[in-house]
């Protein structure tokens, strides 16, 4: 099941915990993967770990020119682009009343606008091929909101609307567009929390543990697979029951 041999995938933010896990899962299913990120050493290390069928594609997603170039670079490196996983994201948390305009703009630029631009660049080839997969990594916060994350929650909720509109436009072309919405996953982003904060969050999770990046990757792998052809415009929540939506 979930055989991606002969398919190519670009994973943004592959230098992070969830992105690397997604790249491993797609690669493990046979796909050729393009590893996007901003920090080269972790990308090179991941490429070395994966061996064949892996390409390092660094780009600054807040730079419009780099955004326009990335899908083309992926197509050049891998021959074409079948699967786009928009995973890269940043946080600039603060109470909204204290949130600077820059913190708002930066989070919307990377977490929402960059997804739109990259997807626009990627779907041309998918439309021609009459096959494509766009999987956007959202967040439980996009559905529930979270104090201190107005910018992040707005961007992640925006991702859901974007994905549904694109799903409607592209369904007739064999292209699906879906969202995977992680809950509380053990990554560098959550390592910043202290033990008390973690304990408080765990009381809200019926599964009583943090998720593992590989559990997000498994959801992405499913949505990227030929088996998920009839699933589009959906949000798959992977959150241990933290929010049952």
């Amino acid at each position: 099941m979930f055989d991606l041999h002969g398919k190519t995938a670009l994973v943004t933010g592959a230098s992070g915990g969830i992105g690397a896990a997604i790249a491993r899962a797609l690669h493990g299913a046979g796909a050729t993967v393009g590893l996007h990120g901003t920090r080269l050493p972790p990308l090179e290390a991941l490429k070395a770990e994966l061996g064949d069928r892996a390409h390092v594609l660094p780009a600054d997603l807040s730079d419009p020119q780099a955004l326009a170039a990335l899908p083309k670079q992926a197509e050049e490196a891998m021959g074409r682009l079948d699967i786009l996983v928009n995973n890269a994201g940043i946080t600039r948390d603060n109470l909204f009343i204290r949130m600077s305009d820059d913190d708002w703009d930066d989070v919307l630029a990377v977490n929402l606008t960059a997804v739109a631009r990259l997807t626009k660049g990627a779907i041309r080839g998918m439309m021609k091929a009459r096959w494509g997969r766009v999987v956007n990594v959202g967040s439980v916060v996009g559905a529930t909101g979270n104090a201190g994350q107005a910018n992040y929650a707005a961007a992640k909720a925006g991702l859901v609307g974007l994905s549904k509109a694109l799903a409607a436009e592209l369904a007739g072309r064999g292209i699906t567009v879906n969202v995977v919405a992680p809950g509380f996953i053990a990554t560098a982003m959550t390592d910043k929390l202290n033990d008390d904060q973690k304990a408080a969050i765990l009381t809200q999770i019926p599964a009583a543990r943090m998720g593992d990046p590989s559990e997000i990757a498994a959801a992405v792998l499913y949505l990227a697979s030929p088996e998920a052809a009839y699933v589009t415009g959906a949000t798959l929540h992977v959150n241990g029951g933290m929010a049952m939506l």
Partner: protein
């Protein structure tokens, strides 16, 4: 001109799956040939590729019929 028309007709026939006879000068892609709006975008992409030209978005919107496409491409080449 006729060469352009033949190549454009071939793309339209292949993409929209219509009879060649239906692709007349005044045939509208959407009203007469059953295209949806995304089909018209794909046709323009196919024309760009076939003829090695760039068709800007505002020009693409004026290409409604087979005749429009042949005229635009002939002038652009």
């Amino acid at each position: 001109m006729s060469d352009v028309a033949d190549r454009v007709r071939k793309i339209v026939v292949e993409h929209l799956g219509v009879e060649e006879e239906k692709v007349t000068e005044s045939a509208s892609f959407i009203d007469d040939l059953g295209a949806d709006s995304l089909d018209t975008v794909e046709l323009v992409m196919a024309f760009e590729e076939e003829f090695g030209i760039e068709i800007p978005d505002d020009a693409a919107e004026t290409i409604q019929t087979f005749g429009d496409a042949v005229k635009f491409i002939s002038e652009a080449q």
